[in-house]
Amino acid sequence: MSKERIQISEALYDIMPSDYQDLVKSATYGKDDRGWKDIGTSKELIEQHSLCAGCPESMAFRYILASLPNPEDTVMVGSTGCTSLVFPMVAVHNIHSLFGNQNAIASGLKRALSVRFPGRVKDVVVLAGDGATVDIGLDMTLQAWFRQEKFTTICFDNELYANTGGQESGLMQKGFVAKMAPVGKLFDKVRLPEIARESGCHYVVNCTVSKPSLVEKVIRNAVHIAREIGPTYLQLYTPCILEIGKNSMEGLQEMRDSEKPTERFAYKEYISDPAKQLLAELAAKDKERKAAAKQLAAQAQAN
């Protein structure tokens, strides 16, 4: 797969928006080893964003879009919330329809793409906030997993409703005082990673987005496993610095503090047996590919 489908007719080239020209010239579509290191060196698949300055979600967005293994055949599904401020500026097809129905949209979408493009890879990736994933949309989140729908669900967990001004959410920590939790949240943070495992997800990771290389790895794993085996779930801490009283440069430290071994975003991973086998196969292929490339380079040098 490559950039062939986004080529611009020569006659129209000069009147196309410059970000589209950039996309055609220097997007990483079709690049086998695309990843977070491409950020800043070639056209990114996210143009701008209207999130708050320093919002960790904006970085998470960049890492994810840089890490998708197959962006030229990936459709993303979003939901209402801060993410819906970013999606209109993303250079893969994306759908926003209602609040909380993202996994239902993705179920229908994935099936339609499978009917229309048999034998071709069409990845579907859901990206929504914790309110959409765990509160209003929990039913559809879980049912998609029960049905073993083959797409990835990513939850940007900022532990509250950020876009509406910091209200209590199911993923908020117990005791946190917020709007709609005037005396502190009375129940524990919902244990969605564990629920995801029990609901049939083949790959579940709970972590922060403090390390781009880690985000890249889990995104690639999640998309590959969803494509071949079944549902996958990533819960990524993207703190809302505004609503937890931090400054714009403090997001990274907040994530680092929250991923310590005893903290709620300590790295947690579950991989089913078939998924483990697939990852081993992919790693072996990758090794083979790298060895071949190395050999080719050595040969070229010898000549």
Binding site: R5, L98, I105, G108, L113, R147
Partner: protein, 403 residues
């Protein structure tokens, strides 16, 4: 169109021939068959080249939804599954339509209400999904009986809303519905409504088109908005998301898009006239008394007209086939000679009478009734009685009224 033309005359994997839709519906031989309304839905979908059908149980549409599962098992439908609720099902339908599939679903009563948030979204996203609504009560205490109140809630969603009278209407309109819905200048969802049980669960003779002929497939690249399949460039659609912006550009964008949806409903008018042979059917429009109705109330009205004729009272009929687009001009013309316009309805509020009152001059001519609801049947005698009472004629006493 090039792609559609190229498949005409070729066969699908079930050996059905992709046939010119106009020829299929107007010229192909018809076989009279004795079927329930639910079976008729199945037979229409067999010929509709559907990519995805999503089902959920709710009386009285469960049988039809399950029968389409059989079609899927036989290979006539691309994919099929049971969703978890009507809200989810309608979102799953949206996802499939965003992905370029021809989509079909069915629902009823409380299911329609539960799914309601999806319908303006479908219209706004220009998804030509077809949804059968087998109307039933939505009141509490729980009712599963026929009642058309839910149609009133669909009228301002931006969906096309048609109201079938018979199983024959149903068969033809399912297929014709896709033709209207999928027109590039329309590209809107269709709620094809019928009165639950009366149409779904009774047997009727329906003239079916040949089972080895089917509609050509949907071409998502004729859509006025991009199909979300990454087969066309993912060009950024807007610089700033409109959702949160409080400025004139944002308001103007939303306003113009709403206007465009309703302009598309208007543009469906000519296509609906073409395929349905007019938005209304009429009889005796020179009569002083007209009955205007939709759904099975039309059949009861027709019987009432026959009974009144026996007593020397001449009465005409307007069958309203499409509620959206609303046949404003047609109804005004058809009722221009009427001194009295009666609107029998299977719901308590009389939404159709309100629409007609807002349409015709001298609206005091409109008698909103008779109404039955909650599953009550509408014997033609009560229509006759309503008309005779209004005319000052002597009429029979209904049991229980104490008169």
């Amino acid at each position: 169109m090039a792609e559609i033309k190229s498949v005409l005359g070729t066969q699908n994997k079930k050996g059905q021939t992709y046939t010119d839709p106009w020829k299929l519906l107007n010229e192909a031989p018809r076989t009279p068959s004795f079927f329930t309304g639910s079976e008729v839905i199945k037979e229409a979908i067999r010929r509709a080249t559907c990519d995805v059908m999503i089902a959920y149980p709710i009386t009285p549409q469960s049988e039809a939804a399950a029968l389409i599962g059989e079609l899927f098992a036989e290979g006539y439908v691309g994919d099929y599954f049971r969703g978890e609720s009507e809200f989810a099902v309608m979102s799953q339908c949206a996802g499939a339509a965003f992905g370029g599939a021809r989509v079909f679903t069915t629902t009823a009563g409380p299911g329609t209400m539960r799914a309601m948030e999806n319908f303006p979204m479908w219209a706004g996203a220009r998804l030509p999904i077809q949804m059968i609504v087998t109307c039933r009560g939505i009141n509490s205490p729980l009712s599963i009986q026929p009642d058309t109140l839910e149609i009133a809630y669909l009228l301002n969603t931006g969906m096309l809303v048609w109201h079938a009278e018979t199983a024959q209407d149903f068969f033809d309109w399912i297929l014709k519905g896709y033709m209207v819905s999928e027109e590039p200048e329309v590209h809107l969802p269709l709620a094809l409504c019928c009165d639950g049980f009366f149409v779904t669960h009774t047997k009727d003779v329906v003239n079916l088109t040949p089972a080895d002929m089917c509609l050509p497939p949907y071409d998502p690249y004729r859509s006025p908005v991009p199909c979300m399949d990454m087969e066309c460039p993912p060009v950024r659609m807007m610089r700033d998301p409109f959702v949160m912006k409080s400025n004139y550009i944002s308001y103007a964008t939303h306003a113009s898009w709403q206007q465009e949806i309703w302009a598309a409903v208007e543009r469906s008018r000519k296509h609906s006239i073409h395929w349905l042979n007019g938005l209304i059917d009429t009889e005796n429009t020179d009569a002083d008394i007209m009955i205007v109705a939709s759904g099975t109330a039309v059949s009861q009205g027709r019987e009432a007209i026959r009974m009144l004729e026996d007593e020397g009272v001449r009465c005409g009929l307007v069958k309203v086939k499409t509620i959206r687009p609303w046949p404003e001009e047609e109804i005004r013309e058809a009722t221009k000679n009427a001194k009295h316009i009666f609107v029998p309805e299977f719901n308590v509020t009389g939404w159709l009478a309100k629409e007609i009152r807002a349409t015709v001059p001298n609206h005091h001519r409109v008698h909103a009734g008779p109404h039955v609801c909650g599953g009550m049947t509408m014997p033609p005698e009560i229509i006759v009685s309503e008309i005779k009472t209004a005319l000052g004629m002597k009429t029979f006493s209904l049991a229980g009224r104490g008169s």
